[in-house]
Amino acid sequence: MIKSVALITWLAPLLGALMAGLLGEKLGPKNTHRFTIGMVTISLLGALYLSSIFIIHSSDPIFAKLFTWIDSNTFIIEIGIYLDALSVIMMLVVAFVSLLVHIYSIGYMAGDEGYCRFFSYVSLFTFAMFALVGAQNFAQLFFGWEGVGVVSYLLIGYYFTKPSAVNGGLKAFLVNRIGDLGLLIAIALIFYYVGALDYPTVIPMLEKFDQDILYLGLFEINGLTLIAFTLLVGAMGKSAQIPLHVWLPESMEGPTPISALIHAATMVTAGVFLICRMSPIFDYSPAVLNLILIIGSTGALFLGLVGIVQNDIKRIVAYSTLSQLGYMIAATGASAYTAAMFHLLMHAFFKALLFLCAGSVIVAMHHEQNIQNMGGLRRELPITFVCSLIGTLSLVAFPFTSGFYSKDSIISAVHHCYLPAASYAYMCLLLGAGATSIYSFRSLFLTFFGKKRFTGAVSEPKWQITFPLIVLAIPSLFLGMSSVGLFFIGNIFGNTLSTSTIANAQMKLLSHEFANPLLSGIDALFHPAFYFMILGFVITLFCYITNHETFNRIKPSLKRIAYPLEMKFGFDWFNDHIIVRSIIQFSRRLYRYLDKHVIDEGIILGLAKRCLQASYTFKIVQTGYVYHYASMTILSLFLIIFFVLYIGI
C-alpha cells in the first residue's frame, strides 16, 4: 500500500507532463491544465498520506522499488522511491508548492502561445524533483539532479525568441554542469570505496574509511574529505553558492511561476538536501565544514548586499534567495542539519510567496518589472500587498513568523559552533540579517508605498493568482511557530541525518533554545540579529518613506560605495571577459593551428604531397622512348653481371 502510494505520487506528474506535452494541442489549454493539476493533486494527496506515516508515526525507511535500471555483474541500480522522514518532507513541500504554482500559472500564463508546453515542463519538473529527493541511490539522485537542471534550462529559456532568456538558460545549465562534475566525481569516489551506490549500504560503509588516505600524485588527501569536498562542489552548483551563483539572477528571465517553484522553493535547495542526506560523511571532515561555513556565510552577506542596489523586482528576490541559501549552507557547515532543513522548508513557503507576489505585481503592472516605476500599489492591490508584507516579515525574521524560527536557529547554531571559521560566519550572518531587512523593505516600500510613478490603472489579478498567495501566506506566518518543536524537540529526522557528537550537541542546544516557541519569540529581543533587522528597517524607512528628499540628496555620494555592488563584485565580468572569452579563443586556436594546420594539412596532407612529389620525380624516367628503355636495360644488365662476377653474391 505505502509502496504503491509512493510510486503513484512520483509518477502522476510524469503522466501529466507527457499528456500535456504530447497531446496538449489536441486537448486544448483548459483540459491540459485540468489534467496536469489533477495529477499534481494526486501527488499532493499521496505525499500527505506518506508524511502522516513517516512524520507522525515515524516509520522505518521503506524502499518502493519500481524496476532495476541496470544489473550487470556487481553493478546493480534500482529505481524507485526511498521513503524516510527527509524524503517525505521534501516530497510534501514539492507537491504543495508545485500544485499552487500550477494553479497560479493558469492566470499568469493565460493566452500564452506555449501554454501546454509550459504545463508540461512544470509537471516534468515536479517528477524530476521527486526522483531527486526520493532517490535510493546516487544514480537516481544524479538523474533527478540533472533532470531538474534540464527542465530549469528549458523553463528559463521558455521565451526562446528573447536572446537574454536563451542566454540565461544556457548559463544556468553550464554553471550547473560544473557542479554536476563535482557530484559525479563524488559518486565515482563512493563507488571506488564501497562498490555500491545505494544509500543504505553507502553511508555505514563509508564511515569505516575515515582514516583512508588517497594519493593524488602531487599531494595526498583523506578520502572522506575528498568525497565531502566534491559533494560540496555539486551542492554549490545547484544551490548557487559563490562562485557558482552567477546563474541564479539570470534565471529570472523565465516566467515568474517557475522562479517561485524552481529557483526559490525546490531545485535550488537540492544542494542543501544533498549535504543533509550525506551529513554523516560531512561530519568526518572538519576542513570541508569550515569551507562550507565560509562559502555559505559569505554568500549570505555579500549577495544580500547586491540585492540592495537591484531595481528589478524579481532580481531582488533572486538575490534574496542567494542570501538565504547561504544561510542554509552555513547551517550545514555548523553541523546543524535539522536547522538547515527547517530553514529550507520555511524558506520554500515564504520565498515562493514573495515570488508569486512579485508575479502578481508584474501582471497587474502589465509586465513592468522595475520597482522605480511602481509605487503606491497598496491600495490597488490589497491582497498582494498583505501577502507581500507577510512574506517580507517572514524573510527578515520578524519574531513569531516562520522565518524567524528557522533563521534564528541557524544563527544561534553557528554562534555555538566551535570550528575556526564559525566566528567569521557568525559576523556575516548577523550583518546579513541587516542586509536582508534593507533590501526587503526597500522593495516593499518602493512597490507599495510612496507616490505612484506610473500612469494607467492597475487592478488585482484573477483569483487563480491571488488564491495561491493566500494559501502560501498561512504557512509563512504560522508554520514556524507550530512546527519548531517537532523539528528540534521531536527530532523528526531521527537518524536519517548525522548523529555525530557535534550534530547532537547542536540539536540539544536548539531544542533547549526553542523549548517554548512563544518564549523564544520574546527572547529574540536579547539577540543581536533582531537589532540588525530593526536597524535595517529604520534605515530603509528613513531613506524611502520619511526622509526621501534627504536620501535623494546624499544619493550621488553613495554611488562610490554602491559601485562594487552594482558590478555584482565583478563575477559576471570575470566570467564573461576572462573565462568564456579565453576558452573560446583557445578552442579557435586549437582548431585552426593544431587540428587543421599541424595534423591535417601538416602531417596527413603533407605526407600525401610528398608521395605525389616523389611520383613526379620518378615520372621523368618514364619517357616513353624505346631507345631510352633499351639503353637502360643494357646498362642494368652490365651492372648485374658486374656485381655477380666481382662481388659474387
Binding site: N73, E146, I178, L184, I185, A188, L226, S587
Partner: protein
C-alpha cells in the same frame, strides 16, 4: 527455428536484395527495398531470440569450407559483443532507408542497393569468425561508403571520398600482415584460436601497432581523426548516419575482438598511451568542436569526442587491474565502453539524421545561416532537443549510460583521469547547447529560414523511432547489458591474463 543459418541468411538476403534492386525499375525497387528492410528486421529479431545471453561462447555458429587449398573456411557466429551491434546495424539501416530516401534526387535505386551492400558487409564484420572473412568484409565496407560519399555527397565530395578511402585503407595492409602472421602461427585463421596463442612481448607489440593503425583510424582516435570531419560534412545524410552509427563502431569492435584478447600484454604496457590519446580526444576535440561554425562539422567533432569514451573504457581496465586488482570495475569499464558504442549511434547518428532533414530544405551547413528555427519548425526542434540532450549525456537518455559507467570506473585507476574525462560533461553541454541556441533559438534573422516547412510524417516516424530508442536505452539499459554480461566477463578474464 534452431539450426537455421540465420547469420548467413541475413547477409545473403541483403546482398541479393541489393542486386535485385539495382536491376529493377523505380516502382518495383521501392517495393523490394521496403520489403527487404522488413525481412532484415525479422531475421534480426529471430537472431535476438535465438541468442542465449547466459553463455559467452560463440552462438548461431555456421561453418562452410571455402578454399580447401589454403585450408580457409567460412565460419560465422556471434557473442554478446557482436549481437547488439548487429541489431543496431539492421535498425539503423532501416531508419536510414525510410528517412533519407526523399532527400536523394538521383540514382535512388542505386542508393538503396548501396545501403543493403553496406548492411551485408557490416553484419559480416560483426559475425565473421575467420580472420580472412573478417578482412574481406572489412575491405568490402569501404567501397560502398566511398561511392556513397563520392556520388551523393556535396561540393567537395571527391576530395572527401578519396581522403576517406586512402586514410582508412592505409592501415589495412598492416592488419592483413598481422592476420597472416597470426594465422600461420595458430595453424588456422579462426579468430578464437588467436586468443590462446602464446605470443612474446615483441610480437604482441608489433601486432598491436598493426591493429592500431587500422582500428584507431576507424574509431577514430586522436590524431588519426582528420578524415572524419571531411567525410561527414561531405557525405549525404544517410552516409553520415552510417558513418557515425556503424563505421566507427567496427573500429572499436576491433579493439574488443582483436587488441584486448590477442595482445593483452602489449595493451597493458602501452595502455597509458592509448588512455592519453582517448583523453586528448575527449578534451581537445571537445574544445575544437566548440570553435566550429559548420553545424555538421560540429556534430562530427562531437562524435570523435564521444568515441573517446569507448577507447578510454576499453584500455582503462589495465591500470584499474594494476592498481586495485578489482575485477568488477574492469567489467564496468568494458560494459560502459560497449554501451557507449551503441548509445553513440543514437546521439551522433540521430543528430546527423536530423541535420540531414534540415539541410535538405536549407542547403547550408553554416550555423550563421540559421537561427530562430524553433518558431518555424517546432516538431523538428523538439526532436532535435532530445538528440541534443542525449549527446550531452543527460540521465534518462541513452547518452548518459555509457559515459556514466566508464567515468565511475576510471576513478579506480586515478582521480585525475575521471576529472579530465569528466570535463566532457561541461564541454559537451557547451558545444551542443551553444550550437542549439544559435540554430534554433532567438528571432528569425535570415529570410530563407522563415520559408522552411516542418518535417513531414515519414520523417517524424523515423525521428520518433530514434527517440524511442534513446529513451528505451536510457531508462532500461539492462536490456542491452544483460545480452553482453557473460561475454564481457569472459573478455575481461582473457584480457587480464598475461600471456608472457
Amino acid at each position: 527455428m534452431t539450426g537455421y543459418p540465420l547469420l548467413s541468411i541475413l547477409i545473403l538476403q541483403s546482398l541479393i536484395s541489393a542486386i535485385w534492386i539495382v536491376g529493377s525499375k523505380y516502382q518495383r525497387a521501392q517495393v523490394i527495398t521496403y520489403t527487404s528492410t522488413l525481412i532484415s528486421i525479422l531475421i534480426s529479431i529471430l537472431i535476438f531470440f535465438q541468442f542465449n545471453p547466459n553463455s559467452f561462447e560463440m552462438q548461431l555458429t555456421e561453418s562452410y569450407t571455402w578454399i580447401t587449398h589454403w585450408n580457409l573456411n567460412i565460419q560465422l557466429g556471434i557473442d554478446g559483443i557482436s549481437l547488439p551491434l548487429i541489431l543496431l546495424t539492421v535498425f539503423i539501416n532501416a531508419v536510414i532507408i525510410t528517412a533519407t530516401s526523399s532527400m536523394v534526387n538521383q540514382h535512388i535505386t542505386k542508393y538503396w542497393a548501396l545501403f543493403f551492400v553496406l548492411q551485408a558487409m557490416v553484419v559480416g564484420v560483426f559475425s565473421a569468425n575467420n580472420a580472412f572473412l573478417f578482412y574481406l568484409f572489412w575491405e568490402g565496407m569501404l567501397i560502398p561508403m566511398y561511392l556513397c560519399i563520392g556520388i551523393w555527397g556535396s561540393n567537395l565530395r571527391s576530395y572527401a571520398a578519396i581522403k576517406f578511402f586512402l586514410y582508412t585503407f592505409f592501415g589495412s595492409v598492416l592488419m592483413l600482415l598481422a592476420l597472416i602472421y597470426l594465422s600461420i602461427k595458430a595453424g588456422s585463421d579462426n579468430i578464437l584460436g588467436f586468443y590462446d596463442l602464446p605470443l612474446s612481448m615483441h610480437e604482441q607489440v608489433l601486432i598491436l601497432i598493426a591493429f592500431m593503425f587500422v582500428f584507431a583510424v576507424k574509431v577514430p582516435m586522436w590524431p588519426l581523426h582528420t578524415w572524419l570531419p571531411d567525410a561527414h560534412t561531405e557525405a549525404p545524410a544517410g552516409g553520415s548516419v552510417i558513418l557515425a552509427a556503424l563505421m566507427l563502431k567496427v573500429g572499436a569492435y576491433g579493439f574488443f575482438r582483436f587488441c584486448l584478447p590477442v595482445t593483452p600484454d602489449a595493451c597493458s604496457e602501452y595502455a597509458f598511451v592509448l588512455i592519453g590519446l582517448s583523453l586528448v580526444a575527449i578534451v581537445i576535440i571537445g574544445l575544437v568542436a566548440l570553435a566550429q561554425t559548420d553545424m555538421k562539422r560540429l556534430i562530427a567533432y562531437s562524435s570523435v569526442a564521444h568515441m573517446g569514451f569507448v577507447s578510454l573504457g576499453c584500455f582503462i581496465i589495465f591500470p584499474i587491474f594494476k592498481s586495485t586488482g578489482h575485477l568488477p570495475a574492469t567489467h564496468l569499464a568494458i560494459s560502459g565502453a560497449m554501451m557507449q558504442m551503441i548509445t553513440h549511434a543514437f546521439g551522433s547518428g540521430a543528430m546527423f539524421l536530423a541535420f540531414g532533414m534540415l539541410y535538405d530544405q536549407l542547403h547550408s551547413r553554416l550555423i550563421a545561416d540559421m537561427g530562430g528555427i524553433a518558431q518555424i519548425m517546432p516538431k523538428f526542434t523538439a526532436f532535435f532537443m532530445v538528440f541534443a540532450f542525449t549527446n550531452i549525456g543527460v540521465p534518462g537518455t541513452a547518452g548518459f549510460v555509457g559515459e556514466f559507467m566508464v567515468l565511475i570506473s576510471t576513478l579506480e585507476a586515478s582521480v585525475w583521469i575521471t576529472l579530465l574525462a569528466g570535463l566532457s560533461l561541461i564541454l559537451s553541454a557547451s558545444y551542443t547547447l551553444f550550437m542549439f541556441k544559435r540554430v534554433f533559438f532567438g528571432p528569425v534573422i535570415i529570410e530563407h529560414v522563415s520559408h522552411l516547412k516542418d518535417i513531414n510524417r515519414s520523417q517524424q516516424i523515423a525521428l520518433s523511432v530514434m527517440t524511442a530508442g534513446i529513451f528505451l536505452i536510457g531508462i532500461y539499459p539492462n536490456c542491452i547489458t544483460h545480452l553482453m554480461d557473460q561475454t564481457v566477463t569472459h573478455l575481461v578474464q582473457t584480457s587480464l591474463q598475461a600471456k608472457v
